[in-house]
Amino acid sequence: MPDPKMRRRDVLLGAGVVGASALPIAAPPAVAQPAAPAATPAKGAAPAAGPAPAGYTFLKPSEQAFVEAMVDHMIPADELTPSGTDVGLAIFIDRACAGSWGKGDRLYLQGPWKQGSANQGYQLPLTPAELYQRGIAGSNAYCRKTWGKSFDRLAAADKETFLKDLAAGKIMFAGGIPGREFFTMAYQTVMEGLFSDPIYGGNRNMVGWRMVGFPGVGANNAENIKKYNDGTRFTVEPLGIADFS
């Protein structure tokens, strides 16, 4: 059951419906302000500030289409959450790639570069944002070769086959990047987008937290832990960083 507050993005970006090339890169401000009455302020008053627009800042159109298709496939709309795009996962991933993590913060990026054992961990000379871009290009090339279409246009069953093969390490992208490396990172960002604080763009309306009953950041449980040690479920409206700010 999608949250009505999230519908605006669907209209703007035609998530999962419109071909990538037709998507606007950034929504025009007039459309991005759903609070229409406030957009025509009384004479002499400053224009009201609306909520932050949710446009992409990093991903290119073909990458947006891939990421939206991936998060909608992994997190489909159902009785537990809206679709991945509506939960904000594509925007979360865009922001993560655009930010310091995406640019290789806290990643040792000095050569020489060698392929090690799995136990030696990540050994590619790519930042996460670069790996996302090359991984998407590699995925689409593989999907076109196998099914004649880019990933976002595949039937659900073919998307499933592709992601399972990617996860199982069966796909090597042209150019030598192991598909499994891309999957590991992409899957991590889906989990982060679903369950991290909504301030980062994902987990909108805290649907990831509501799905499991996680209370968020406001926990003061010194008394609760005494009361709720008999198997009774503790439920509370979750709170995020913005609720304390």
Binding site: H73, I75, P76, D78, L80, T81, W101, G104, R106, L107, Y108, L109, Q110, P112, K114, G116, S117, A118, N119, Q120, G121, Y122, Q123, E160, L163, Y187, Q188, V190, M191, E192, F195, S196, D197, W209, M211, V212, G213, F214, P215, G216, V217, G218, A219, N221, A222, N224, I225, K226, Y228, N229, D230, G231, T232, R233, F234, G240, I241, D243, F244, S245
Partner: protein
């Protein structure tokens, strides 16, 4: 050419638990003391404030409080025949950085390592015979006794604030505590934390099987607490943001709110942050340190700080790295098996990666997010219990503690599902939603004994941001470690079964060590202590045998790794060594043994 500063009496490298204890204990001597910390300053109100500190993405996923591996990391490999490659991101372990060091983000588990560990070779030779110890296991007595350390354990417990229940008070076994612990003169300063449902079920099941479960001793304050220096700590709120985080309530015993501010009340103690020590400088004989060379990381300037005494108090890995970079002691070579510095590197087994039993219940909610770093109960029957016959349990040395009760349930990483569940899609979501509230882990944590292949050396290829060789870690689990964990998993499963779950699964495997998922920050060894300069790097007072005005604190001096967490003896031995320096070394500088 480095700028040379006026000389001081003492330089301490690293401002975590050990550096803070040293500075606090030596401060009242009035000697000029400089503490060099490579990271920045930290305060509770500015760095651990609500709501920013409760940010799983920033602090757990992105490791903001930890060592920045873009600047300095280590290379890793499983055995000496592999080529080591850089650990390009943090994973298996998380050394801290900045004022407070790893003592800011630790989970708080606090143990007294007693003669079961400190006299390990003697114990096994006596009980099982000399042949029981494998020829290639460099098992060593530590050259120090529990009786010597007991007062210092107490001092650390009353400094950090530990919640727990005594099991052995002056030789008298106390019901509900750990009956196998070393005799203590005083109980813990605070009663145990409030037990959660999972803890109570584990305790009941264990005790019905004849084992001896007790609340895990830990440095979250069960009540507001004033420590022996008058520092005030708050009450734990069971918020579930503990082990990768600083505490906004000052309810976790951490150096930045205990020993460090007390040390800095002494005007002769000068803390310099953003000061990255590159090496200890030696005189022409190589037997005396003349000071240290460090870099002001804010400007890049190289600075020489002359000093009469140098105390290495960085994280275990960094202390060993500095010894190797400085040419103090003979470096260990895994091919010839000669040398000492870097030998006996050990880690811990378990850490949830292998050796855990996951239980699922569909008739109750555990509210797993009501948690604290050390919340839980432990069984020590297969570790410190000297009557437990290892020869009949697979024939191993060491042992494992078995525990239940979680430190957190932050859902980015905590969303347990039964094996065979899809990784995504509606079915995955339904399983996550179904089991999030109904899952418990019972897991073993195993000791790791020395193996001649496991060691720390300098890497021949890769460099840190200053062009210095990275530390190279060679490590894998070996047969004794697998025997310990195999038995621990059997015992964990026995307890788990008695908790009567709907389903339970065992993830034990003999998989080799991997640098990738987090396991524990319980790295030990590389500068082992002992009573003989031919077989140890430092003596019982943590003093370098080779360069007597260099002392090495922390877990680097452990000759093997226990199942217990390392911070208890790190703290106690820092107090112990500080006393020796204060009362004996400073009056008559020279070897203390």
């Amino acid at each position: 050419m480095a700028r040379k500063l006026p000389p001081v009496d003492i330089v301490i490298v690293g401002m975590g638990w050990a550096g803070g204890i040293m500075a606090k204990e030596l401060g009242p001597t009035g000697l000029k003391i400089v503490v060099l910390e490579r990271g920045g300053p930290r305060t509770t109100q500015d760095d651990f404030n609500i709501p920013q500190i409760r940010d799983d993405l920033r602090f757990q996923q992105r490791n903001e409080l930890m060592m920045d591996v873009a600047k300095d990391t280590l290379t890793v490999r499983n055995n000496p025949s592999e080529e080591a490659l850089p650990m390009r991101r943090l994973g298996s372990f998380l050394p801290g950085e900045g004022v407070g060091g790893s003592g800011v983000h630790w989970s708080g588990h606090n143990w007294r390592w007693a003669d079961q560990d400190l006299k390990i070779r003697s114990n096994y030779e006596q009980r099982y015979g000399k042949k029981y110890i494998p020829d290639d296991m460099n098992l060593k007595d530590w050259g120090i006794s529990y009786a010597e350390l007991e007062p210092y354990y107490e001092k650390f417990e009353y400094t950090a604030g530990i919640s727990g229940k005594a099991g052995n008070l002056n030789g008298k076994i106390q019901k509900g505590g750990n009956p196998f612990e070393g005799a203590r003169k005083k109980d813990y300063p605070l009663p145990p934390l409030t037990a959660a449902l999972a803890t109570n079920m584990f305790t009941k099941a264990s005790n019905e099987l004849g084992f001896h479960a007790f609340p895990r001793p830990t440095s979250q304050m069960s009540k507001p607490f004033t420590n022996i220096d008058g520092q005030q700590l708050g009450q734990c709120q069971y918020c579930g943001y503990c082990e990768k985080f600083g505490c906004e309530s000052n309810a976790k015993g951490s150096p930045h709110i205990t020993v460090i501010p007390v040390a800095l009340k002494n005007e002769n103690v000068d803390l310099r942050t953003f000061s990255w020590v590159q090496k200890v400088l030696l005189d022409s004989t190589g037997k005396k340190a003349t000071g240290v060379l460090y870099v002001n990381v804010l400007t890049g300037e190289e600075i020489e700080q002359p000093a009469d005494l140098v105390i290495l108090s960085g994280f275990q890995l960094n202390n060993v790295h500095l010894l190797l970079l400085s040419g103090i002691g003979k470096p260990y070579d895994p091919k010839t098996r000669e040398g000492l510095v870097g030998a006996n590197y050990c880690y811990q087994a378990g850490g949830g990666r292998t050796g855990a039993i996951q239980l699922f219940f569909d008739d109750r909610s555990f509210n797993p997010f009501m948690a604290a770093g050390g919340l839980g109960a432990v069984v020590d029957d297969f570790h410190y219990n000297q009557d437990f016959d290892r020869a009949k349990a697979g024939g191993y040395i060491g042992g494992a503690t078995i525990a239940a009760g979680g430190s957190n349930a932050r859902p980015i990483n905590y969303h347990p599902v039964p094996p065979g569940t899809p990784q995504w899609g509606s079915e995955w979501k339904r399983e996550v939603a179904k089991w999030y509230q109904g899952s418990v882990v019972v897991n073993g944590t195993g000791s790791v004994m020395p193996h001649p292949d496991n060691c720390l050396t300098l890497d021949p290829t890769y460099k840190n941001r200053f062009g210095q060789p990275l530390l190279r870690m060679t490590f894998d689990f070996h047969e004794n470690d697998f025997k310990v964990m195999s038995h621990a998993v059997d015992m964990s499963a026995k307890i788990a079964k008695a908790m009567n779950p709907k389903m339970m699964f065992n993830n034990f495997s003999k998989a080799g060590w991997t640098s990738v998922p987090y396991q524990s920050t319980h790295n030990t060894g590389g500068a082992m202590m002992g009573s003989d300069p031919r077989t140890s790097v430092v003596n019982k007072y943590l003093q370098s045998w080779d360069v007597h005005n260099v002392f090495v604190t922390g877990a680097a001096v452990f000759p093997h790794n226990s199942s217990y967490n390392p911070t208890g003896p790190v703290g106690a031995m820092a107090f112990w060594a500080a006393d020796a320096i204060k009362n004996r070394y400073l009056k008559n500088p020279g070897l203390l043994v």
